[in-house]
Amino acid sequence: PSNAMPIPHVKENSLTSAMMYLMKYGYMDDMDHHHHRSENLLSQDGLKKYIMEFQAFAGMNVTGELDSDTVKMMNMPRCGVKDKLGMKMDADSHQVHHHSRS
């Protein structure tokens, strides 16, 4: 098992999987969920800002491009805690990206 290649969670050329990763780790918490539809973000431009933040956090070249190095970094084993805590985590809420009573 230690030598098995784990299934990559972020796929090359898959903006959707990259967006899921960026959301999971807190990079997109500033997004207004009420006014932004996810499909608007599913473009290279839409995710560029967030990809850049991730690249900066990971100490990579900041290009804003979902290049192979960025995908590789996103597939590195890591801790499940968010990198960005702009919004607090509600540990027991189903809406894990929002800190609010709702």
Partner: protein, 390 residues
């Protein structure tokens, strides 16, 4: 500075931990796991006066468990690779979870090194967020096996910002009982501080017809927004709630859109902030069977009926029945498992849950189980942080 502090820390330095669920597979025995976890915690004691003591049962500060998939906290694990583990900051309980589907190893380049991963996770348990310094232990990515993980300068600055530098000699101190008072929060900017941050006890809380939630305390009242107090509050009750006195007892809004506010032997009725004519009226007239000077009044989400709490008793009021309070009442509040006597007030919030408030703390109720919600972190929780934005 590359490190990040989440904002909460433990107030006590003698912390306890328990490994409540060991890995179910792999090459490590329970003794191995105990040893590696201890070493992982020692990484943090080297630079602070923190101490960690393992307990085999009972409540502890940091609960450690090896779990797989969805395991109850809304953040499921994903099998081998990917997410290895996560941990909760002190304000959320401090527990650490490890993905049981990883191949945990010790002193080996194979598999996933438990010591390295655990040392990182315990940083979160102590209040540290991720660092963007790739050489820091608190960088988010797994670095692989290291003979002895250690803190770099960024990590040391972070942990000492929370717990101070290690003193030359540790004074003996007794283990502390765990309570919500053992967690401390950073004070925010002064504009977000208000009286409820110093004293979170309340007189009453309710949601009005327009879905605004209000907290009443003394001569003032507060309007709540999503995670704190609305700008411009607190305001004087007398300024906005015509005819309403200070220091009210309880309040609730009924399905007719009217808010009923109680004090002593009287009650007032409002539509949002507009007082209906003819009020106040005696409680004995409008709420036959309900005593004066109640502690709390709320509409229970479980059945939509009105409940009044006073001292150690509660009453159920059904305006569609005669009499509205059955002879079997009052009943003991102890029936509401986990809810204390003499509460300050209760509220059916806009999210559908019923919350009980007392002495600055609150409990969320699980209507189906008919007991306090078994969540992490456990209830009671401090209302100042979770409700009032302190």
């Amino acid at each position: 500075k590359r490190f990040a502090l989440q904002g909460s820390r433990w107030k006590v330095k003698d912390l306890t931990y328990r490994i409540s669920k060991y890995p179910t597979s792999g090459q490590m025995t329970k003794q191995d796991v105990d040893g590696e976890i201890k070493k992982a915690l020692d990484v943090w004691t080297d630079h602070t006066d923190l101490t960690f003591t393992q307990k085999r049962s009972g409540r502890v500060h940091i609960d450690i468990s090896f779990l797989e998939g969805e395991h109850g906290d809304g953040d499921p694990f994903d099998g081998s690779g990917g997410t290895l583990a996560h941990a909760f900051f002190p304000v959320f309980g401090g527990d650490a979870h490890f993905d049981d589907k990883e191949f945990w190893t010790m002193e080996s380049f194979r598999g996933t090194n438990l010591l390295q991963t655990a040392a990182h996770e315990f940083g979160h348990s102590l209040g540290l967020s991720h660092s963007d310094d790739n050489d820091a232990l608190m960088a988010p990515f797994y670095r692989g096996f290291e003979v002895k993980p250690s803190l770099n300068d960024d990590d040391i600055k972070a942990i000492q910002a929370l717990y101070g530098v290690k003193s030359s000699s540790n004074l003996a101190s007794s283990l502390n009982e765990i309570s919500s008072n053992e967690i401390e929060f950073d004070r925010r900017d002064s504009e977000t501080n208000h009286i409820l941050c110093n004293d979170a006890r309340i007189d009453a809380i309710f949601t009005a017809l327009d879905n605004s939630t209000y907290v009443f305390k003394g001569q003032e009242y507060f309007k709540l927004v999503d995670d704190s107090i609305a700008d411009g509050y607190p305001r004087k009750i007398s300024s906005d709630w015509s005819g309403l006195p200070s220091n009210i007892d309880a309040a609730f809004t009924w399905k007719n859109g009217k808010t009923y506010i109680f004090k002593g032997s009287q009650y007032w009725r409002y539509t949002n902030k507009n007082k209906d004519s003819g009020y106040p009226k005696p409680i004995s007239k409008g709420f036959d069977g309900i005593p004066n000077s109640v502690d709390a009044a709320f509409v229970w989400s479980g059945n939509g009926l009105i409940y009044f709490f006073k001292n150690g008793d509660y009453y159920r009021f059904n305006p569609e029945e005669r009499p509205p309070v059955k002879e079997t009442y009052p009943k003991p509040i102890s029936n509401w498992e986990g809810i204390p006597d003499n509460i300050d007030d209760a509220l059916k919030y806009t999210n559908g849950f019923t919350y009980f408030f007392k002495d600055g703390n609150y409990w969320r109720f699980d209507d189906k189980a008919f007991k306090v919600d078994q969540a992490n972190p456990a209830f009671p929780r401090p209302a100042s942080f979770w409700w009032f934005g302190c």
